[in-house]
Amino acid sequence: MLERRKFVIGGIALFVVLCYVIRLSYLQLAPNDYRKIAESNAIYNKIIYPSRGAIYDRKGRLLVFNQPAYDIMVITREAKDFDTLDLCETLHMTRQEFEQRLEDIKDLSKNPGYSSYTQQLFQAQISAADFSIFQEKMFRFNGFYVRERTGRQYKYPCAAHILGDVAEVSPTDIEQDDYYMAGDFIGKQGVERSYEKVLRGEKGVEVLLRDSRGKIQGHFQNGELDRKPKPGKDIFLSIDIELQMLGERLMQGKKGSIVAIEPSTGEVLCLVSSPTYNPRDLIGKNRGKKIMDMVNNPSRPMLNRAISGAYPPGSTFKPSQALTFLQEGIVSANGTYYPCNGGFRYKNSKLGCHAHTSPISLIPALATSCNGYFCWGLLNMFGNRSKYPTVQDAMTTWKDYMVSMGFGYKLGIDMPGEVRGMIPNADYYDEHLRRWNALTVISISIGQGEVTLTPLQIANQGATIANRGHYITPHVVKGIKGGAIADSLHKVHHTKVNPKYYDYIVSGMRSAVLTGTCKGAQNPWYEVCGKTGTAQNRGHDHSAFMGFAPKNNPQIAIAVYVENGGYGNAFGVPIGALMMEQYIRGELSPDSKVRASGIQHRSVN
């Protein structure tokens, strides 16, 4: 009787084991995340940062290199029982700032990756001097650590817009590219941004095993999953840093831009935007404040006017018109004369011009920058109903010429922030004006009205003329160590104008230097071709110059644009001349030096 109870006891054992087997199958056989959780427990991916590529100029002069920077990190759960006052003093912060910073760190909306167990950034990039003081006292500040990082340093205090800078990634950066993690550095502007993937290299990783106390116990799977970092590649700019420095000097106290291009390659030799700033100012913990100051500054030093500023080109636009008229057969170089008696007069329209002989043909019209000639040309083109059925058709033809010369669209320079400028088309006028004809839009022929170009596009026009009809996509990076720049940067663009017509333009621009508006660019060493521009503006006129030299086998094409600088020969011509001299001769003559310092100290308010 009682012996049967052995079945009860054996049954209890069976029941217990059955329950546990069911539980085991639930834990081990049902789909679950335990494996992932176990791995995230034990596996610590230690990121090894590669060194960022350096930046050199076209002659191999070092511009940007890496230097160590120190971040103060905090593990909030450990940060207690220390002398807060001492810490605040060491880090130059007030008690309130300290409390505020800790609160911000713990605020998940501001710091999404917060964990009280891991190091959080407390203060970024303290100076080496502060670091050494902090390091001595660090053992007293429980929960505070130092993370060594690599920041950027600049050899020359210039070319800020071209070089750009690096800073911590923003949440959007992380969203767009999962390569980045919070706290990583990324190029923010300039070539640091456009060549980010070349410069950054590739992060390496050590897959480590971490025990429950955070101690590293070795490599996971004997290091099979470890990856060595690939250092970033060095890049060589096409910029000549000497030329760039001179340009920035000449533009002091003025707003505007200088762009120089090597016509045969499309390499940008200098890209000055003024006002500018010292790139070193953006290093370190004051970066945010400095940027805010600049954003609030009405003269907008952060704006890269060379590629992000669109201006009326004024008379620098005239060569493109002349080329269009020649190619379309509206004018012939030597056979067409247009009247200009103090300007263009037709029906009720009037457009002023300065004194010169009349009637006038193409080359002298370019040399004297005659408004009348180009207005007549456009009038004759847009009014030619035998060639163009409607004014819209004429407009479209005109627009296609402009676009083929690199206007109206981005040129595709290898830098962020380029704008396209404005070349109006027929649709634009149909939309904005009820009725329009050649007279309504006549001012586009002299680079006024709706037309705007970037200084880069003006310089590129110079390069196109220097090349007699083609240009190469302008670019600021000449080469990559152990790599190559994009093919698109070598692309040759031919305009819709036959190269033979370019010779007339070159002659016109040459006589502008010899006898016309650009006499200030004349020099004894090489033949300069140039074209001034005086762009009308609500306030003072903008002073512009476009040119290239030498006339044959040109080495440099240049555009100078000084906002509110007055006549083209007030600032545009002398600055352009000095820049060309510096580049072609390698230095300025004593006379030029005097002139340079004169210009440097002339401000435009």
Partner: protein, 490 residues
Amino acid sequence: MQYVYNSNKGIFMSLDWITIALYVILIVWGWFSVCGACYDYNNPDVFSFDLNSGKQLIWIGTSLLLASALLMIEKKFYYNATTFIYIMMMLLLIVTIFIAPDTKGSRSWIPLGGGVKLQPAEFAKFAVALAIGKYMDRYGFNMSNLSQFFKVVGLFLLPMILIVGQKETGSALVYLSFFLVLYREGMTGSVLFAAFAFVVYFVVGIKFGDEFFEDMPVSIGEFWVLLLTLFFTIVLIGRYCKDKVVVRNLIVFAGGLELLAYLFSEFVIPFNVCVVQLIVNIGVVVYIGIQYAYTRTYKYILIMLFTILSTSVFYGCDYVFNHVLQDHQRTRIEVLLGKKDDIRGAGYNVNQAKIAIGSGGFAGKGFLKGTQTKLRYVPEQDTDFIFCTVGEEEGFLGSFGVLVFYLFFIWRLISLAERQPDVWGRVYGYSVVSIFLFHLFVNIGMVLGLTPVIGIPLPFFSYGGSSLWGFTLLLFIFLRMDAERNYKNR
């Protein structure tokens, strides 16, 4: 008593080699698990004596020596020495309380020098098993004699209290498994049933005590405890008193009344049904009391006592839970019952154990490839939580295997116990069965998150000399007894 040799089989031939094989398999399997659990990345030599895996080899070796030695000691030696062994063991337990240094809050380890420590609680089990066996082997022992019954219970309650005195509640609870032995020897099953009922009350009461039915001011825990009380009372009366009229009356009137009250509250006017239930249960107690007055059947009194206790349990367990249990015990129970989700605190161990086992999947990560245990995410990874390593490195296959081998081991021991020629041998055998079963139940249950975290080892798997020796001692005394089963009582 005198025994004569009445078989042509030698001791060697009569040994139960199946059990010994299972013992060896489990011990070797256990050693591999300890290797996985205590692996040190800086010292990958599992045989190194700096590591627990190396030391465990010593404990295994010495245990095998101990086992061989025990097989030489005749059964009659124990029969004569039982009283002495029991008394010495109890003295040792008492002494331990006073001389053992505080180790993580418990005073159960006696340092023997050289870093070796001895836990007497692990050795007291065999002494108790011998003692109750000898007591129950007495001529004229009768389980239904209350004074004899309580003397037996006293034999294992004493070491239990002493071990609680060492602040080793877990090891003390193991002695409750002797009730299973008493059950086999004739104790009424209602004791086990009552114990089961009280566990149910406690779990339901604590887990649902402060949750309420939708739209009714009725505590879910209170409602079910009171309903279960009525149900269990009716079941007990039906089983032991066999009075169909009483059962029918209880079902119709008491059950009907509670049902009516529930329906009224649900569909007419919500009110606290438990008040009605409480009154009904008091009525039931009175009714049973009247039955006793008529029939003079003492079983009615016991059942009445059960009903009263059951009814007061819900109100009492709250008190026990909040005032008697220590803070860490309370938190462990709350976490186990899912009332608290404390991943960083008390729930950490259990949660990490689940992760370890779950991450093993079907086939496991492979020998020495687990990370949860080696990197100490699981606490006590080579002692109490050793089963995590099995789960992580050997997966479902390994864990299932361990459970199956244990089940066969326990079943084998049951059949050995049953074939003992005398009560003493059988009681001792069932003691061994019950102790192993209890350890298996609590240890693996705790690792799987099914029972509260009670720190007792998994026999043959958990690292430690004391526990391995203790279990070897317990087992091999029995194997020798079993080998003598063919000796004839002279």
